[in-house]
C-alpha cells in the first residue's frame, strides 16, 4: 500500500502536466487518452486499496514528507486509507472514469479540448488529495484545489461573461465558507496540538475537551462544508455553476466535489458527535436546504438548473442524515446520489448535445423516440432520484428518513418527506416536459436531433445499471447491508459517543418504507397529471393561484438580489469610501498638506533668493562687518 496509495492521486497529476504542456501543440484531438488511462489506473488502484482495507480495524497512514514543519506545528504530506476514504476513492475514480470517457464524445471538437482534460485531471488529483489526506491541512489543500478546478471549469467558456463571473462567484462563496474552515483548522491545532485525524480524534474520544470549543470547531468546520456543499445560505453559487460544460456539472457539481462537505463532516464524526448542538445545526441547515432548494427546482425551466437545485436539495438530505448521527446512510446516499445524479446530468448533457445546445425544457418535448438510449437511462436515473422502489435512491433516502423518524426527529422527518414529494414531482416534470408530449422544438433544431455517440452512451448505461441496482445490492437490509458493514469501523467511535446501538430490521421500517414510496409515487403521479394530462392549462393555473409565492420561487427567493444589495454593495461602496475618502482624502491629504505647508513657507522666503551672486556677497560682507565690529567693541 505504501507505493499504491500515493500513486492514486499522482496518476491524474502526471496526466494533468502532460496534457497541459503537450496538449496544445502535440496531443490536440487525442488529448483524452492520457487522462482517461490515468483515471482508469487510479480506479484500479482504488479497487486494490478497497480490497486491502476491507475488514481492517485500523486506518493505514503513509507519510511522504513533512510539509510544514515549524516548532510544534508539524504537518506531513500523508495519506490515510480507511473505509471512508476507500468508498470516496471508488466513487471519485469510478464515476470520474466514466465521465472522462463521456467527455471524449461531449467535448469533441471544442477548441479547448486539451485544456478541458487537463483541468479535469487536475480536479481528479485535487479531489483524491482531499479524500486521501491524513490531516486537516491536506483536506484544506484538496478543498481549495477542487474549488480552483471548479473555478476553471465553470469558467471554461471564459469568453462568456456569465461563465466567467459564475466561476468567480463559486470561488468567492466557497472562500466565505473556507473562512470558517480555516479558523476551525486553527482552533483544532490550538486545542489538540496536531492536525492529524488519528491524533485529533483520539484526543476527542479521550474526553476532557470543553464542549464549547468542540462546538466552535464543529460550527466552523460546518461553515466550510456549507460553502462547498452549497447549503443555505451559501448555496447561491451552485446553480450558476451550470455555466460549465455538462460533464463538469456531472463530475464536480453533482457526484464528487460538492459532496466534500458531507465527507468532511462524516470524517469529523467524532468531533460532531461530541458537540450535539453542532449536529443540531447541521441537521437543521440540511433539512431547510433540502426543502428550500427543492421548492426552487419546481419551477425552473433550464434543464440543468433543475438538476442543480435538486443537487442542493439532495446534499441537504445528506446533512440531515449527518445531523442525526446517521453517518452511514449519509455516505450511502452520497454514493447512490453520485451514481444517479451523474447519470441525470450526463443524460441531460446528452439531450443538450443532441439538440445542439438547447437547455430550455419549454423548447423540448417528444424526444423519447428520437434518442431512446438517453431516454431509458434517464428514466432509471429519475426513478432513483425520486426514490422509487427498488431504485438506488430509494434505499439511501429511506434510510435517512427512517433514522430521523426513529431518532425522534419528527419535524425533520416530515420536512424530508415533503421534500421527497417535491423531488419526485420536479424530476418527472423534467422527464415529461423533455421526452413526452408534443415536440416544441424549433423545426431547424428538430431536423438535426441525433443520438449521442457511443462514448457518451456507454457511460450512461453503466451509470444506469448502477442507479438501478446499486442501492438494493448494497443497502439490503436497511442499516445492516454490505455498505453499512463495510463502513462500521470508521464510525464506531462516533457511535459510541452518541450511544447508538444497532437495531434489527423491524416492522416500523417496513411501514416507513411504504410511506416514503407512497409519497414518491404520488409526486410522480401529480407530475403526470400536470404535464402529460393537462400540460396546457394546469401549470398556468397553479402558478396563477399562488402568484406571489410563484414569483418568489421563480426568482430563487431573491437570495441573489439580497446579497447583491447588502453584502456586495456594502463591501464595494465601503471600499470605495475607504479609498476615496480615507486614503486619498485623509491620509494622503495630510501628507500633501504637510508638503503644501512647506511650499507656502518657501514661497514666502524665496524672494530673498534673488539669484544674483553679488547680493549674496554683500549680505555676507555685512555679516562679516557685524562680526568684526562686535569683536572690536566687546
Amino acid at each position: 500500500m505504501n507505493y499504491v496509495l500515493p500513486l492514486i492521486p499522482a496518476l491524474p497529476l502526471v496526466a494533468f502536466f502532460i496534457t497541459l504542456f503537450l496538449g496544445k501543440w502535440w496531443l490536440k484531438d487525442s488529448a483524452h487518452w492520457i487522462p482517461i488511462l490515468a483515471m482508469a489506473g487510479s480506479f484500479v488502484l482504488s479497487v486494490a486499496a478497497f480490497l486491502a482495507i476491507r475488514g481492517e480495524e485500523h486506518a493505514m497512514v503513509v507519510e511522504l514528507w513533512r510539509w510544514i514543519p515549524v516548532g510544534d506545528f508539524q504537518v506531513p504530506i500523508a495519506f490515510q486509507l480507511d473505509q471512508l476514504s476507500s468508498v470516496m476513492l471508488l466513487v471519485v475514480t469510478g464515476v470520474g472514469t466514466l465521465i472522462f470517457i463521456y467527455s471524449k464524445g461531449y467535448m469533441h471538437g471544442d477548441p479547448g479540448y486539451y485544456r478541458f482534460f487537463a483541468y479535469l485531471s487536475l480536479f481528479a488529483f485535487s479531489m483524491l488529495m482531499l479524500v486521501l489526506g491524513a490531516n486537516y491541512l491536506l483536506l484544506y489543500l484538496g478543498w481549495e484545489a477542487v474549488g480552483l478546478c471548479s473555478y476553471y471549469l465553470i469558467g471554461f467558456y471564459y469568453h462568456k461573461p456569465s461563465a466567467a463571473s459564475a466561476g468567480k462567484k463559486a470561488f468567492l462563496t466557497n472562500r466565505v465558507g473556507d473562512f470558517g474552515f480555516g479558523l476551525g483548522v486553527m482552533l483544532i491545532f490550538v486545542t489538540f496540538g496536531s492536525l492529524d485525524y488519528l491524533h485529533v480524534f483520539e484526543a476527542v474520544e479521550h474526553g476532557g475537551t470543553s464542549e464549547g470549543i468542540l462546538l466552535a470547531i464543529g460550527l466552523l468546520l460546518f461553515m466550510g462544508a456549507m460553502g462547498k456543499s452549497a447549503q443555505f445560505p451559501l448555496h447561491v453559487w451552485l446553480p450558476d455553476a451550470m455555466e460549465g460544460p455538462t460533464p463538469v456539472s456531472a463530475l464536480i457539481h453533482a457526484a464528487t466535489m460538492v459532496t466534500a462537505g458531507v465527507y468532511m463532516v462524516a470524517r469529523s464524526s467524532v468531533i460532531f458527535a461530541s458537540a450535539p448542538t453542532a449536529m443540531l445545526v447541521v441537521g437543521a441547515v440540511g433539512a431547510f436546504t433540502a426543502i428550500f432548494a427543492a421548492s426552487i427546482g419546481l419551477v425552473q425551466n433550464d434543464i440543468k438548473r433543475v438538476m442543480a437545485y435538486s443537487t442542493v436539495s439532495q446534499l441537504g438530505y445528506m446533512f440531515m442524515a449527518l445531523g442525526i448521527g446517521a453517518w452511514i446512510p449519509a455516505i450511502f446516499h452520497l454514493v447512490t446520489h453520485a451514481f444517479f445524479k451523474a447519470l441525470l446530468f450526463l443524460g441531460s448533457g446528452s439531450v443538450i448535445h443532441s439538440l445542439g445546445g438547447e437547455q430550455d425544457m419549454r423548447k423540448m418535448g417528444g424526444l423519447a423516440r428520437k434518442i431512446p438510449f438517453t431516454y431509458w437511462t434517464l428514466i432509471a436515473g429519475a426513478f432513483a432520484l425520486a426514490g422509487v422502489f427498488p431504485f438506488a435512491g430509494f434505499w439511501s433516502k429511506d434510510e435517512i428518513l427512517g433514522m430521523n423518524f426513529k431518532g425522534g426527529g419528527y419535524i425533520i422527518w416530515a420536512v424530508g418527506l415533503i421534500a421527497a414529494f417535491i423531488t419526485a414531482f420536479y424530476t418527472f416534470r423534467l422527464i415529461f416536459m423533455t421526452f413526452w408530449g408534443e415536440s416544441r422544438m424549433d423545426p431547424e433544431v428538430e431536423k438535426h436531433v441525433h443520438e449521442s455517440p457511443w462514448s457518451m452512451v456507454v457511460p450512461l448505461m453503466v451509470l444506469g445499471v448502477l442507479s438501478v441496482g446499486a442501492g438494493a445490492l448494497l443497502g439490503i437490509p436497511p442499516e445492516g447491508g454490505l455498505f453499512a458493514k463495510f463502513l462500521e469501523p470508521v464510525f464506531e467511535p462516533a457511535n459510541q459517543i452518541l450511544g447508538v446501538h444497532h437495531e434489527a430490521f423491524a416492522a416500523i421500517d417496513v411501514i416507513l418504507m411504504i410511506v416514503s414510496l407512497a409519497v414518491a409515487l404520488s409526486g410522480v403521479a401529480l407530475a403526470y397529471v400536470f404535464y402529460v394530462r393537462r400540460p396546457d392549462d394546469l401549470p398556468q393555473k397553479a402558478g396563477a393561484i399562488s402568484q406571489p409565492l410563484y414569483k418568489a420561487v421563480l426568482n430563487k427567493w431573491y437570495i441573489d438580489e439580497i446579497y447583491d444589495a447588502t453584502i456586495i454593495r456594502l463591501t464595494i461602496d465601503g471600499s470605495r469610501w475607504l479609498w476615496r475618502v480615507v486614503d486619498a482624502g485623509v491620509i494622503d491629504g495630510a501628507v500633501n498638506g504637510v508638503a503644501r505647508l512647506w511650499d507656502i513657507a518657501g514661497r514666502i522666503v524665496s524672494p530673498f533668493q534673488t539669484g544674483r551672486v553679488q547680493n549674496y556677497a554683500v549680505v555676507m560682507f555685512v555679516g562679516l562687518f557685524v562680526i568684526v565690529t562686535a569683536v572690536i567693541v566687546f
Binding site: G602, T610, R612
Partner: protein, 101 residues
C-alpha cells in the same frame, strides 16, 4: 626689519578692501575677476610680510601655492566667461539670475 609689519598689513588691507568693493559693486564680470585677483594679491603681501617678520620661508612657499590656485582660477573663470558669453551674450553679472527663487 626695516619696514614695519604694520605697513604691509595696512597696504594689504587697502588692496583687499578695494578688491572687495570691486567684487561687490561692479556689474562687468571681467572687472569682478580682476578684483578677485586684487584680493589674492593683498593676501600674498600679507604672507610675504609675515615671512619676513618671522624670518622663515613658509609664507613665501605659501604664496607660490596661492599663485597656483589663482592661475587655475583664472583659467577656469575665463572659460566660464566665454561659455556664458556664448550662451547669453552678456557679461553683466546681475543678468545671471537663473537661481532666482
Amino acid at each position: 626689519m626695516v619696514i614695519p609689519i604694520e605697513w604691509y598689513l595696512v597696504l594689504s588691507a587697502f588692496l583687499f578692501a578695494i578688491g572687495a568693493a570691486g567684487v561687490l559693486m561692479r556689474r562687468n564680470l571681467f572687472i569682478v575677476l580682476f578684483s578677485i585677483e586684487l584680493m589674492m594679491n593683498a593676501v600674498n603681501i600679507n604672507l610675504v610680510g609675515f615671512s619676513r617678520l618671522h624670518e622663515n620661508l613658509i609664507g613665501q612657499n605659501f604664496v607660490l601655492f596661492t599663485m597656483t590656485v589663482a592661475a587655475a582660477e583664472a583659467a577656469i573663470g575665463l572659460a566660464i566667461v566665454t561659455a556664458l558669453y556664448r550662451n547669453r551674450r552678456t557679461l553683466m553679472v546681475d543678468m545671471f539670475d537663473v537661481m532666482k527663487g
